[in-house]
Symmetry: C2
Subunit: 142 residues, 2 copies
DNA sequence: GTGTTTGCAAAGTGTTTGCAATTTA
DNA sequence: TAAATTGCAAACACTTTGCAAACAC
């Protein structure tokens, strides 16, 4: 299965997670969840909102991305020190990171997988396992 | 094998990779490569140098970490947006990241592994595969 | 000597914060 | 109207840069 995206009922989503459906959040949620899965940075999403004639401040974009992440609607992906990426597919999966373009792409789950998750050190529990396959254009020097 | 660390001949190392053995680089290399494998941030290394009465500016620490990384003596590990970590073990291996403390630990290579590295998208080649197992103190709220 | 490296301070980047004004319920 | 949310601008944390002085070969 390619990953179901059954309802883009953005309003319902916000209610479900207990966030007030403000104009800004609705607009951002629409941009994020209305189509295919996406990987965005705050700046990109902000620019996109502007482009769509939605007035939102960058600060609100940041706040919203974090609220959505806490609510489980987004997943943060760490691939670049100094830039945060958010993935609208919050389920467990791995990523290609295109170093040249600075973009992310989901890895189809059939393709890889860990053959064994290691025992976490005593007193700790695993909060998440991230797998990032960094790729670059074939021509590039290593 | 636990990972051989045969020579801490810091001077020879620098020569090998074509970096002039300046006082600063020698001192930093010593701090980095003289004992066990380590995971450091620029700030930590800088503080350590200060503690060891080595006069080095933070800018030089940054420069040096990057030069060592380009030279293959270090490997950068991305686990935190807004902070760069460098690993003195530049061989291929994976990490635990302790979210509470913000520290890294190598995962013994026997323990995990990818069961299959995915085919990189056309026109690209894999530059590296990063696996980060994020752990947190058991008591912590999720 | 010549080219490299250093340190400083300034500038840069991405992100967070304080708070008054606005909006939601 | 009470509580939550927004936007702005200032503050932040970390990193990079420009350039003159110091250093390595």
């Amino acid at each position: 299965m390619t990953h179901p995206r059954p309802f883009s009922d953005v309003l319902a989503r916000l209610k479900t997670v207990g966030l007030r459906p403000t104009r800004q959040r609705l607009a951002l949620a629409k941009l994020l969840f209305d189509g295919e899965d996406r990987h965005v940075t705050a700046e990109v999403l902000h620019a996109e909102a502007q482009g769509a004639k939605v007035r939102v401040s960058l600060a609100t974009v940041y706040n919203t991305l974090h609220q959505f992440t806490s609510a489980g609607l987004l997943r943060e992906v760490v691939v670049d020190p100094g830039r945060s990426y958010f993935d609208t597919n919050s389920s467990d999966h791995h990523h290609f990171f295109f170093e040249n373009r600075g973009t992310l792409q989901d890895i189809p789950e059939e393709t890889v997988s860990l053959s064994g998750v290691p025992e976490p050190p005593a007193g700790t529990s695993i909060s998440r396992v991230d797998v990032v396959v960094r790729v670059r254009d074939e021509s590039e020097s290593s």
